[in-house]
Symmetry: C2
Subunit: 334 residues, 2 copies
C-alpha cells in the first residue's frame, strides 16, 4: 500500500485536489464572498489520533465525517449556515495514502450533505495524525444564537436523543461486553458515534416559529452538546447568569439505551457521554412546543431556566435533586 512518504507532499496534494473547491484553491489563501448583509462565523476543532479516534473504532471516512460534523455543529449552534472549511493535516510518513483519501471522502460527503466546500489548508509531517478543521459559516446578524441570552422561565430543549454516541463507542471498544445487544441496536449506536448529524434542520423551524411571533422579545440561547448535555446546560447557564432545573424523567433517552445499558448508565451517558452533537436551546415555552412537534422522536423539553444560578437534576418520582457540575467531566488533559 502506498504511503504518504512514497508519494511525497506534492503527489499527495495532487491526490487531494479533486476534493477541494476548484475555484478557490491554488493561491496563498482562499478568497470568498460572504452573502450580502451576513456576518462571518468561524470555529476550529482538532481531532487527534489515539485521543478522538483510532483505527480500532473509526475508519478514515468516519474521521473525516466526524471532524467536519463537529465543526458544522458549532456553526448550527450559532444559527449559521456553512460556507466551507480549511484542513490542517499532520501525518506520519508511513500513513497510507488510502487513509488520507478516505478522510477527505468523509469530509466531502459531510459537506455534500450539509453544504460547504473545502477551501484548502496545510499538509505537514508529524509523529501523530492530527486533523485541525476550521469551519466558516454565515448568518444574518439578527439570527445569531448566543449562549448568554437564556432567561429564567424559558424551556430547555434538547433536539434529540443523548448518550447514543457514547454507547456506540463502548460497543466498538468492548464488543464482547455488548454481545447480547441486537445487531440493529448496535448498528444504530455505532452510527450515532461515527456519523453524527449537525442539526441545521432546527434553524428554519426556529426562524418560522419566531416569524409566527411565538417568542416576542425573547432571544433564544443555544449551544451544541458536543461535551455532553450536562456541560451544555451548565455553559448556557454560566454565560447567561442563570440556573436550570432539569427533570430526570424528561431526559432524552432512547428506549433501547435504557433497555440494554440500564437506566443509570443511560442517564450518565446522556449527561456526560458527549459527542451527540444535538442542539440545546433555551427558549419561550410556546416556541419550544412548536419546534418539538416538528423535530420528532428524541427531542424533548428537558427542564427550565431558573433565576437561581444552580443547575439541578431533579427526580420528581422520589423528590430528590442533585447539583450538576460537569467541570471534571471534560478535563481532557487529566
Amino acid at each position: 500500500m502506498t504511503t504518504v512518504s512514497d508519494l511525497g507532499e506534492l503527489g499527495l496534494l495532487e491526490r487531494l485536489r479533486p476534493f477541494c473547491s476548484k475555484d478557490i484553491i491554488g493561491d496563498d489563501a482562499a478568497v470568498l464572498a460572504l452573502p450580502p448583509g451576513q456576518q462571518l462565523v468561524v470555529t476550529t476543532d482538532v481531532l487527534v489520533d489515539g485521543v478522538h479516534f483510532s483505527d480500532r473504532t473509526t475508519a478514515p471516512f468516519d474521521v473525516g465525517w466526524r471532524a467536519t460534523a463537529a465543526n458544522l455543529s458549532d456553526l448550527a449552534a450559532m444559527g449559521a449556515e456553512p460556507l466551507g472549511l480549511t484542513v490542517g493535516l499532520s501525518l506520519p510518513g508511513q500513513t497510507k495514502v488510502d487513509w488520507v483519501e478516505g478522510l477527505y471522502q468523509g469530509m466531502a460527503a459531510c459537506l455534500e450533505r450539509f453544504g460547504g466546500e473545502i477551501f484548502g489548508g496545510d499538509l505537514c509531517r508529524s509523529n501523530t495524525i492530527t486533523v485541525a478543521v476550521t469551519a466558516l459559516g454565515a448568518v444574518l446578524p439578527e439570527r445569531v444564537l448566543y449562549r448568554h441570552t437564556a432567561r429564567p422561565g424559558q424551556a430547555i430543549v434538547a433536539t434529540g436523543y443523548h448518550g447514543l454516541s457514547r454507547a456506540g463507542l463502548e460497543v466498538l471498544l468492548q464488543p464482547e461486553a455488548w454481545a447480547q445487544v441486537p445487531d440493529t441496536v448496535q448498528t444504530a449506536w455505532i452510527r450515532a458515534h461515527r456519523r453524527p448529524i449537525p442539526r441545521f434542520d432546527v434553524l428554519p423551524l426556529l426562524q418560522a416559529g419566531l416569524a409566527a411571533g411565538l417568542a416576542p422579545g425573547q432571544p433564544t440561547a443555544a449551544m451544541d452538546s458536543s461535551d455532553g448535555l450536562a456541560n451544555a446546560v451548565v455553559q448556557l447557564c454560566r454565560a447567561s447568569g442563570v440556573g436550570a432545573r432539569l427533570e430526570q424523567s424528561q431526559l432524552p433517552l432512547h428506549p433501547d439505551l435504557v433497555c440494554w445499558a440500564g437506566a443509570e448508565r443511560a442517564v450518565d451517558w446522556a449527561l456526560y457521554g458527549g459527542e451527540d452533537f444535538e442542539l440545546v436551546l433555551c427558549l419561550a415555552h410556546d416556541l419550544a412546543q412548536r419546534i418539538l412537534a416538528q423535530l420528532g422522536e428524541g427531542a424533548a423539553v428537558v427542564g427550565q431556566v431558573t433565576a437561581d444560578p444552580s443547575v439541578q437534576l431533579c427526580n420528581s418520582k422520589d423528590g430528590s435533586a442533585i447539583l450538576l457540575n460537569p467541570g471534571q467531566e471534560f478535563q481532557h488533559f487529566k
Copy 2:
C-alpha cells in the same frame, strides 16, 4: 513548574482567555463582521514540534510569533489586511503552562504589531505539540493578488533579502560551526529566523503605484516566499502558464550572508532555504521601479517573466543558465 495536566483544560482555558478577543469568544463559534464590500481571505498553517520548531532553536514566544507571521504572510500575499485568527492547539499533558502562555504572548505580539485578534480555537491532548493556525483577512475584490496573473515581460520583484532565516537556523543548530561570525550578524540571522515580518507594508505602496497609473491594465501576481524564492517563482509561473529568467547577480543576498556563508551557499539558501516570508511579485517594470525605491535595502528586481515556460537561473558573467525545479526541495514527507 506547572504543567497543563496540573491545570486541566478549564484552568488552561482560563489562563489563555486574556489573550483572546473579549467580545468574540465564549460561544460555539466566533461571529464577526467583514468590512463593507470586502471579501474574506482564509489560510491555514500548521506548525509541529520537532518539524517546524524545537526547544533547541525556538522559544515558545517565537513559535507563537512565527505561526502567526506565517499565516499573516499568506494574507499579505493575497493583498489582504488581517482580521484575526483561530488556534487549534494540541499538547502533551506534561507541557509547561509557561510554554503555552509564551506561545500566546508571541501570537498576541505579532497581532498587536500587524493587526487582528485571536477569535478562539480548540485545545486538546496529543503526544506532539501541534499549533494549527487559521488566519482570516479582508480585501476589496479589485485588490486581490493572485498567482495566476503573471504576464511575459513583467518584472519579478523580491521584497527583501532571502536566505537569512535559513542562516539563523544553521547558527542555532550548529553554533560551533559559525563561531567566527560576528555576534551582530548572528543576532540578525537568528532574528530573521525567529521573528519573520509579514510584508503588509508592500500593499499600500502597490496601491499607490497602481493609483498613479503605473501598470495600466496589468494585474500584479504575488506569492510569499515561505518555501523559498525558487519555489515562489516556479509556482507563480506554473499558475500563470509562463516562465521566468532570474539573474543570479540580482538575487537579493545580504552582503553578510555572502561574506560568512560563501556565495554558493548564499545562493542556495536564498533559492531553497525558505521561511523568509517576503513577497515575490510579478508586475509592470515602472511599477516595480517605483516600489523598489520605497522598499529600500534588500528588495530587488530578480528577473523577468517569459513566455517560454521554463524557469531559468542565468549567470550573465559566464553566460551559463540552469533550470530551476524546486520540486524536490519541499517534499516535506521524504
